[in-house]
Symmetry: C2
Subunit: 457 residues, 2 copies
C-alpha cells in the first residue's frame, strides 16, 4: 500500500521563497501613480514598512526565509501533501490527484503563511500595529493570529456581508487579540462616504482596503502600517513555500512533475503559492496545464481587462497592471467571500497574458456541488473557495479518464469550511442561486477604468 499522506520533516522545510518576477518572459509592469509615472518606493512608505517594499520590488529569484518566521510556521508546516484516493476511486479516474493541505494552519487557510511573514517584517521595522481588510474572514483571522504570536496589535475591516454571514470569524480574531469591525464603517472617511452614498451596501474588498489604508496612514504616531492578504508580489512570494514543499514531497514519493496544477484565485496568492514554483519547469519546456479558478460572479481573469487599475474603491492604492473588472465593482453577496476581489495579482495577470496559465470560472452552485462530493468521499469540509478548485480538479480527472491517461493532478486545498457551514446549509436546502455576472454589470464596472493611464502596447 502507498501512503496517502506525504510528510516532509521540519528540517527539510524550504529556506528560501521563490520570486517569479525573476523568470517571467515579459518583465512585470511597475506600479504607477495617477500621473502615469512609476512609483518610487518612498511613496509607499506610509503604507508598508521599507523591508517589505524592498521585497515587493525585488527581482531576485530566491529570497531567504528568516529563521524566526520558520519558528512560527513549524506549528503546522511543512503541510502534508495528500493523495485523494477516495475521490479518485469515486470518479473511477486513472489520474492521481494530490493536494497540499493548507487547512491545517491554526487560522484554517494558506493565508497564515504570509500573515506571519508580514507581521515579522513589520515588527523588525519597529511597527506596533497593523490594519487590514478581510473578505470571508480567513485573512483577518490569519493576521490576528500572526500579530498575536509576533507581538503586534491588529485591526481588521471585514466586508459587511461576510461579517453578517460569518459572526464566528470575529470571535476567532478576538481569541487571537484582533479587533474586527464591519466595513464600510463610520471609523474612516472612506467608509463614511460610501455609507452616505450606499447605506445598504454589502461592502466589498475594495472598500475595506480603502478603510484599512486610511486607518494606517492617518495614525500620526508612525507606528501603524497596512497589510494586504493577497495581490502584491511580496504576498505571493511568501506563499511559494506551498509549491516548494510540494515539489520536495512529489520527489520523496518519486512522482513525476504534475500534468495539471489547480488553485482557486481571489487575489491570486493561494494559486500562485502552489503554481509559481512549477512555472520554471513550464518555461523550460515541461508540458503543464496551470489553471487558476475564479468565481463566475467575479470573473476578472476570464472576462475582465488587462489594465492599470486601483486596488481599492477610494483610489488610495497605486495603479497596478492587472486583469480587472474595474475598482468600482461591487460583487454579489455570494458565499465564497474570498473570490470577490475585482482584480488579479499583477504576477498572475502577466503570466496569463504570457499564456503560461489558462483561467477558468465556476458559479457557486458548481463550487458547493464539488465540495459536497469531496466531503462525502475524502471526508473533510472545505472552504467554498476551495470547492471551486475541486470543481476544476474533478473536471480534469474526468477528462483524464476519457483520454485514458494516468495524469498527475495537484491542487491547493486552500482552507477548511468549518466556519462556512451556513453556506453549506443554504446549498443543501436549495437556498442558493446560480449567479454569473451579467454582461451589463460587467460593462458598467469596467467603465471605472476610463481615464486611467493605459498599459503601453
Amino acid at each position: 500500500m502507498k501512503e496517502i499522506k506525504v510528510y516532509l520533516s521540519e528540517k527539510d522545510i524550504p529556506r528560501k521563497w521563490y520570486n517569479l518576477a525573476a523568470d517571467l518572459p515579459t518583465p512585470l509592469l511597475p506600479p504607477i501613480g495617477p500621473d502615469g509615472q512609476p512609483l518610487s518606493p518612498d511613496k509607499l512608505a506610509p503604507v508598508f514598512p521599507m523591508n517589505l517594499i524592498d521585497q515587493e520590488m525585488s527581482q531576485e529569484r530566491w529570497i531567504d526565509i528568516p529563521e524566526e518566521i520558520l519558528e512560527v510556521l513549524y506549528r503546522w508546516r511543512p503541510a502534508p501533501l495528500r493523495r485523494a484516493v477516495y475521490l479518485e476511486k469515486y470518479l473511477k479516474t486513472p489520474a492521481r490527484i494530490y493536494y497540499k493541505d493548507e487547512s491545517l494552519s491554526p487560522a484554517g487557510s494558506h493565508k497564515t503563511n504570509t500573515a506571519v511573514a508580514q507581521a515579522w517584517y513589520n515588527k523588525q521595522f519597529g511597527i506596533e500595529k497593523l490594519t487590514t481588510e478581510t473578505g470571508a474572514g480567513q485573512w483577518g483571522s490569519a493576521l490576528s493570529f500572526a500579530c498575536q504570536l509576533i507581538g503586534l496589535e491588529c485591526k481588521v475591516f471585514m466586508v459587511r456581508v461576510s461579517f453578517d454571514q460569518k459572526p464566528m470569524r470575529k470571535a476567532m480574531m478576538q481569541v487571537w487579540g484582533g479587533k474586527c469591525v464591519p466595513s464600510p464603517s463610520e471609523e474612516t472617511q472612506a467608509g463614511r462616504d460610501i455609507l452616505q452614498k450606499y447605506p445598504d451596501t454589502p461592502g466589498s474588498l475594495g472598500i475595506a482596503i480603502s478603510e484599512a489604508i486610511e486607518a494606517a496612514v492617518m495614525d500620526t504616531s508612525g507606528k501603524t502600517r497596512y497589510s494586504l492578504g493577497s495581490v502584491l508580489n511580496h504576498v505571493l512570494l511568501h506563499q511559494t513555500i506551498i509549491g516548494l514543499e510540494a515539489k520536495k514531497q512529489l520527489e520523496m514519493i518519486s512522482e513525476k512533475t504534475p500534468d495539471v496544477i489547480i488553485g482557486c484565485a481571489g487575489g491570486g496568492s493561494n494559486f500562485a503559492g502552489l503554481a509559481f514554483p512549477f512555472i520554471c519547469d513550464k518555461i523550460n519546456g515541461a508540458k503543464i496545464d496551470i489553471i487558476p479558478v475564479e468565481s463566475a460572479s467575479c470573473p476578472k481573469m476570464t472576462r475582465g481587462e488587462f489594465a492599470y487599475d486601483f486596488g481599492d474603491m477610494a483610489k488610495m492604492t497605486p495603479l497596478l497592471a492587472m486583469m480587472t473588472l474595474g475598482h468600482q465593482f461591487i460583487p454579489a453577496p455570494i458565499h465564497a467571500g474570498g473570490l470577490r476581489y475585482h482584480g488579479m495579482a499583477p504576477l498572475v495577470s502577466q503570466a496569463i497574458i504570457d499564456k503560461l496559465m489558462a483561467p477558468r470560472a465556476y458559479d457557486q452552485l458548481k463550487g458547493y456541488e464539488s465540495a459536497m462530493i469531496w466531503a462525502r468521499t475524502e471526508g473533510t469540509i472545505c472552504a467554498p473557495e476551495t470547492g471551486h478548485a475541486i470543481a476544476a480538479t474533478i473536471e480534469e480527472a474526468l477528462k483524464a479518464k476519457e483520454e485514458g491517461k494516468e495524469k498527475v493532478i495537484i491542487f491547493s486545498y486552500s482552507g477548511h469550511g468549518l466556519l462556512d457551514l451556513a453556506g453549506y446549509e443554504k446549498f443543501i436546502n436549495n437556498q442558493l442561486k446560480k449567479y454569473i455576472l451579467p454582461d451589463e454589470e460587467l460593462k458598467k464596472s469596467i467603465k471605472s477604468l476610463d481615464g486611467l493611464p493605459k498599459i503601453p502596447s
Copy 2:
C-alpha cells in the same frame, strides 16, 4: 533541532485494540437488569448488533481491527503526536508536554474513531440505520460522517441547549447526510413525556439517549440499531488506537514512559483511549499519574457515587456500575457540552476505585482560561472540553517546574473548538459564570439512585 510533530506512517498503524477489561485488578462488574440479575447478551440485541455485544462482553486483551475500518481511518490516522514547545516555553517548565492531535479527524474530534468502527460492525450485521444522541455535537457529527462513508442512514437527537448554541453542528451533520433534531423531541414517547413535565428543559444526554434508544427499538423493520458515543466497553476499546499510536510515537523519538497522562472525560472514551494502553505499565509497577478531568458542573468522578445506575433518564438502558450523579441529573447549560453526562464509563470508574487514576474537576472559566493560553501560545483553538485537559496539563507542568523535574506529560487534544467560538466569545466578553455544582443539587440528583440494586461490597 528536534521535530515538534511525530508522524507514524500508515503501515505502522496499530492493528489491534487494547481491552483493559483483561487486565483490571478487580474484575469489571457486569451490567444488570432492574431485577439485579446480570444481563444476558440477547437482552441487548434489539439495541446493538450482536458483533458489538460480543465485543462489549469480551475479556480478550487484544482485538483485531478489521482492515476495512483502517481504510476509513487512514483519512486522518495515524494522528500526529505533537510536542507543545511553545506552551512549555511560555510556562518556563522543564516538563516535556506531548499531545495526541485528535482534532484532525474530519468531524473534528476523537469520536470519529469509534463512529467508524460501530458503523462498520452494524453494516456487517445487516443494519441499515443508526440512531444516536449527541451533546456538544461532536458525536453526532462523527457518526453522521461514519454512516456516510460506510453507507448507513443516521438519525441524531441533539441536546436542546447545544442544538441552540451550536446551529452549525446540525449543518455539519447534514453535509454528511445525517438527520438531526433537538432533544427532547416530539418524535418519541420519552421526549414527549419530558416536554410535558419540563417544557423549558435544556435537555440532557440522559434524555437524548432515551429518545435514540426508543427510536431504534421501535423500528419494526429490525434494521435500525442504536449507537452510543462513549461509556460502554466497546466504545472505549475503539479509542485505544489513540494511546497505542502514542506509545509507538514516543518510542520513535526515544522518549520514556510518560510521568503524567491527562484527558478530559465526559463519558470517558477520550480519556480512556489515551490512558488505557499505558495502564498495563502502571499495573506492572511504572510510576504514572493518570488524571481524568471532568467539569465541576458535572462532577461524577470527584463527588459522585460508585453505584449501579441507568445510563439514561427514562431507564431504558441496563444498570451499569459506575461513578454517577444519578440518572435524573440535569446539568447546567455550560459550554463544554461533552462533559455534561451524569455517569462515567464502568471501566474508568472501576479503575478509579482501584486507585489506578486520580480524577480532577475544573469549572468552565478555568477551562476557557487554559484554552486561551493555548490559543495564544500553541496557536490552535481547542474544544472547551479539551480546555479542561489543558488546565490540568498546565497545572502539572507548573508543578514539575516547582519540583525542578523533567517530567513527561502527555494529554489528548480531543477536538478543535472551531464550532465552539460562541463560547469563546462569551468568555472574552465576561458573559460566562464560574459554576460548580451546589451540594443541594448533588444530593437531589443522587437520590435517583434510591431503590436501585446496590453494588455488592
